[in-house]
Amino acid sequence: MDNAVLLQSNDLAVGYRQGGNKSLVLHKDINVQLHRGEFACLLGPNGAGKSTLIKTLSGFIPKMAGKVSVNGKALADYKRNELAKVVSVVLTERLQIPNMTVFDLVALGRTPYTDFFGMLSKHDKQLVKQAIEDVGLKGFINRQLVCMSDGERQKAMIAKALVQDTPLIILDEPTAFLDLPSKIEIVQLLKKLARERNRAILLSTHDLDLALQLADKIWLLAQGRQLEAGVPEDLVLANGFRRFFEKEGILFDNESGSFKVEREQMKTIRVIGKGVEYKWLSHALNRTGYQTTVEEGNYPNIEIDSNANKAYILHQTDGSRHALRTIEDLLLQIRQE
């Protein structure tokens, strides 16, 4: 049971019903699987239809065709309250609810299990406190939401999803408005929860770097293309990212796993050296429009002196030689030639 397929779609089509009998299908023939304990990221450019897919999988909007099932049962066959115990969501919206504390918010995650008036049992309260600790908000239990940062608030929403006690957690761009450290924190937290709590977690995001580093599976989605899913490395090697994110002047570099801005390479420079200085010097030269090489040839040379007196020694093709202390000075010198 533990590693069983939790979420499965067969030839699923997603889209919107428009007025009358018209409907707009954004994507069809989607075949994906998500296992318990797995952390998957749905990646794609804006307007790719990520949200529509997420909403369909969370049961907010009906599917247009095909099958989608959770735990072997079709999503549409779940009663409202049953579904609330199977799928929980965290959304992009920033909630500003005056007077609501973290405890109040997380406690609402117990709604599918509480009585008619929503009274919390001892067990419920225990779960709520535990979840608040699990997401790292231990000291915030009675803190008002309005007095918290966006990242802290999203952590509280994740705690809400945890106490909802669903095998599947779906997050629709929960990190969209967070700063980088908060993003990393949240994604790491999700990965940990997936593993330790044996939940299947699906996160839609723009953050390629984070997804590449932390996701067990990546689902790539772009307008007018078939969804592609797999482990990040396979997708890179199959040129998946390159094809999905191609845009004029932007290139996905399969080697580094990040985007490069394409420019006309103006001049070649030979760089001699190794280590971290070598890496960042090449970075700086590439960034400013030079191609770097280790081959000998009729180009300027830069030698990295990694001794006590760190220096970058520039040998121009005309034989002149400059020793420079920083990359900034070096770039200035090259440009002057």
Binding site: S58, G59, F60, R80, N81, L83, A84, K85, V87, S88, V89, L91, E93, L95, I97, P98, N99, M100, T101, F103, D104, L105, L108, G109, T111, P112, T114, F116, F117, G118, M119, N142, Q144, V146, C147, Q164
Partner: protein, 348 residues
Amino acid sequence: MEEHRVKWVLGFGLLVALLLLLFMANIGFGSVSIPFDDILNVLLGEKASRSAYTSIILMSRLPQTITAVLAGAGLAVGGLQMQTLFRNPLAGPSILGISSGAGLGVALVVLFAGNILGVTISGYGLLGHMTVVGAAFLGAFTILLLIVFFAQALRDNTILLIVGIMIGYAASAIIGVMKFYSPKEDVHAYVIWGLGSFSNVSWEHLLILIPIVLIGLVMSLLLIKPLNVLLLGENYAENLGINIRNTRLAILFCTGILTAAITAFCGPIAFLGLAVPHLTKGLFRTSDQKVLMPAVILAGAVLALFCNLIARLPGFDGALPINVVTGLIGAPIVISVIIKRRKMNANG
């Protein structure tokens, strides 16, 4: 947690004490002051020291006081529900145009009948008053049905809110036209109705008003759980297993019948429904409807009794309409509470 408990118990204690105190004050004070012993005797069905006291209390002050309690509690509940449903602090029970509908009903009877049929309703005493109440209730209920109809067609709450406000404007516009073509006396009668009053409600009226308000209040208590979840917005609420459509209809219906009945009997009591939830939230500092709903019922009754008492203070003698008092006394209170709360939030 425990700290909150203590605060809440104190809050409820304060509200209950104020309610009892103001209830007695409303019966005791007025152009004729009645001693406390006599009030108790009359309320317990025994003889007062003067027979005039008995009739003043039973025929005038007691129904008026009960009306104030019902109206305050009902409107405050409506306000809290609208603020929660629409997640908008400016929402009140009259936001969906229901009280404008009541106004339209009254205008049709007072202005139109007077104008076209040559009947001056204001001259007809009790029968005339019942006609006005009936017209107000019909008008309010018509608008409520219209809102419910739109609520079923529209998924988006913000759009529903705008539709409600627009319906209110349309009703006011029609009233404006009728006022323009009506004789002065009728317009004056309409203006008087529009200023609101708790004193025109007799025991016969209360037989209708009490059950409706009680149904509304009980319903509001049954809606506590979905209202709490709706604080998170519709998407989260739906994901937590709430049937948004049915819940929204129930909330609209609950606020609708409360507002319709109270406005029909007391006129459009502005402000109470908007202000009381803010005062209550300031006092209890929670978003939990399990605490807020009963607290708002109590606080609504307390504030209505307080305003009614001011309106009847010796010297004013009914010269101050209830809407003038609620506005003049209530607005500064609300402003100060909100500013104070802001400061507390800012200080963490």
